[in-house]
């Protein structure tokens, strides 16, 4: 989109790692946007009408048209909005396929159990989900090696698509030890990912957008307690 009046609204919620992905992409591209903060217990008309299927954040509204699902939004931003800096997805079709593969892996094998670990009711179930997550992190260490080719990011020299997809959850990764007692990216077990995380946090976009870790710890502990309490009330 060349020049003209670009109107960008992001319907989001501060705690969401999925929303954070979109914020990262917009900041990396130097794009300004209006943030509309939702109370997900009391969803706005805007959210319900712009995402009737899922009624979930994030939703990017570009010149009045809604785009839903964080990975799809990030790809849309990359393809449509001419900002600063290189593309998030590589130009080569094979490298794009590799990036999409690892983004899908992160979603299915890391983020899915990560979501469940907050919601399940017992310590035993929590332990199971954490085991799944840590197994996925081990595999992802190999994924980083494959994508980065010895460089700093999944995208190589520059931040790329997979960095943004994983990057949305970095504050939760840092909070993991305080909430659950286990480091997610442990330098002793997955040194490449541990180093990646530190490097990622140094980015201007990360500093601008990532949630405060202590706030995430409090929020995470609250979620766990709430879901456990619901079980013991049965």
């Amino acid at each position: 989109m060349a020049g003209g009046n670009v109107e960008l609204k992001l319907v989001g919620q501060w705690a969401s790692a999925f929303v954070t992905r979109v914020k990262l992409a917009l900041h990396l591209k130097g794009l300004s946007y209006e943030i509309i903060e939702e109370d997900l217990r009391n969803k706005s008309e805007l959210l319900l009408s712009s995402n009737p299927v899922h009624k979930a954040v994030p939703v990017l509204i570009h010149n009045g048209k809604p785009i839903c699902e964080s990975q799809i939004i990030v790809q849309y931003i990359d393809e449509t909005l001419v900002g600063v800096g290189p593309s998030l997805l590589p130009a080569d079709p094979y490298e794009r396929a590799v990036a999409r593969f690892w983004a899908a892996y992160i979603e299915d094998k890391l983020v899915a159990p990560w979501d469940r670990v907050f919601r399940v009711k017992t310590d035993e179930e929590r332990g199971e989900e954490m085991k799944q997550m840590l197994a996925a992190v081990d595999v992802l260490e190999g994924g980083f090696k494959e994508c980065s080719n010895g460089k700093c990011f999944f995208g190589g020299d520059c931040v790329g698509y997979v960095d943004v997809i994983l990057g949305g959850a970095v504050s939760y990764a840092k909070a993991n030890e305080a909430i659950f007692g286990a480091k997610l990216f442990d330098a002793a077990k997955t040194p490449l990912l541990a180093a990646w995380m530190e490097r990622f946090c140094e980015l201007d976009a990360a500093k601008a957008v990532l949630q405060d870790v202590d706030t995430v710890v409090k929020h995470g502990k609250f979620l766990v307690a709430k879901n456990s309490a619901r079980a013991s009330n049965n």
Binding site: Q75, Y76, E79, T80, P93, R96, A97, V98, F101, V139
Partner: protein, 240 residues
């Protein structure tokens, strides 16, 4: 093995690792055919996986896997996007739309079909009782959404077959096979008329038709694996 070792005129060879009955592999075969790409089919016995498969898809150990000049692409919808991009030439149809907003819409519906239709559909087939009722309900709600989304269109993207149709292929040719094998009727008479009409359009498409597994063989195949599916799903559901 780099493609620069090939003579300039000869395109890098394409192989597709597949297994009988896989709707995921079907998606890729249709994509390759739409782009006019010649390829060699390598048929796996998933009960006894080959070194080729394990070497090229160590993460998931599943089919389909596309091998292009020796480099592997995995995950069926990732492969379909790759085929659309890597093999495009002047006359070939586009699998994903060219407009970025339409592309986002296509990806949205493909993801909806995967997460909200196919996942609970599979689970509903191999569970019983309360869990089965829950998955069946979720599937039917999603099918109703899809039915409304078709809204009189011939295919999900309009007049031509595309990405979302490939994503939904299970619903066109595999759904009633699963219902028969599992002994569970999910779709009642007269339900989802737009989807039924779409299924006929999809399965009679001249390209798609070449890659639909024989129905009787599909029934036999799924019946033979029914116990395995049931125990795998039981283990997965216990975790939720």
């Amino acid at each position: 093995m780099s493609s620069s070792q090939q003579p300039a005129q000869a395109p890098a060879p394409v192989r597709l690792i597949t297994a009988f009955g896989s709707p995921f592999a079907h998606r890729v075969e249709v994509a390759l055919a739409l782009k006019g790409v010649p390829y060699e089919l390598v048929v796996e016995d998933l009960a006894s996986k080959s070194e080729l498969l394990l070497a090229h898809n160590p993460v998931h150990r599943s089919v389909p896997v596309l091998l292009h000049g020796g480099r592997a692409v995995c995950e069926s919808l990732v492969i379909v996007e790759y085929v659309d991009e890597a093999f495009h030439h002047g006359a070939a149809p586009r699998i994903l739309p060219t407009d970025p907003y339409d592309r986002a819409t296509a990806r949205f519906w493909a993801q909806f079909i995967a997460d909200k239709c196919l996942k609970p559909l599979w689970l509903s087939m191999w569970t019983d009782g309360e869990a089965q009722a829950r998955f069946a309900r979720e599937t039917k709600e999603s099918l109703a959404v899809l039915d409304a989304q078709l809204d009189g269109k011939r295919f999900f993207g309009g007049d031509a077959l595309g990405f979302v149709d490939l994503a939904a292929c299970t619903l066109a040719h595999w759904l009633d096979v699963l219902e028969e094998v599992a002994g569970k009727r999910l779709v009642g008479d007269g339900e989802y008329p737009a989807l039924r009409r779409w299924a006929k359009e999809y399965t009679s498409d001249e390209t798609v038709r070449r890659f639909l597994p024989d129905r009787d063989e599909l029934v036999a195949f799924f019946a033979a694996n029914k116990e395995r599916y049931t125990s795998m799903v039981r283990a997965a559901v216990q975790r939720q």
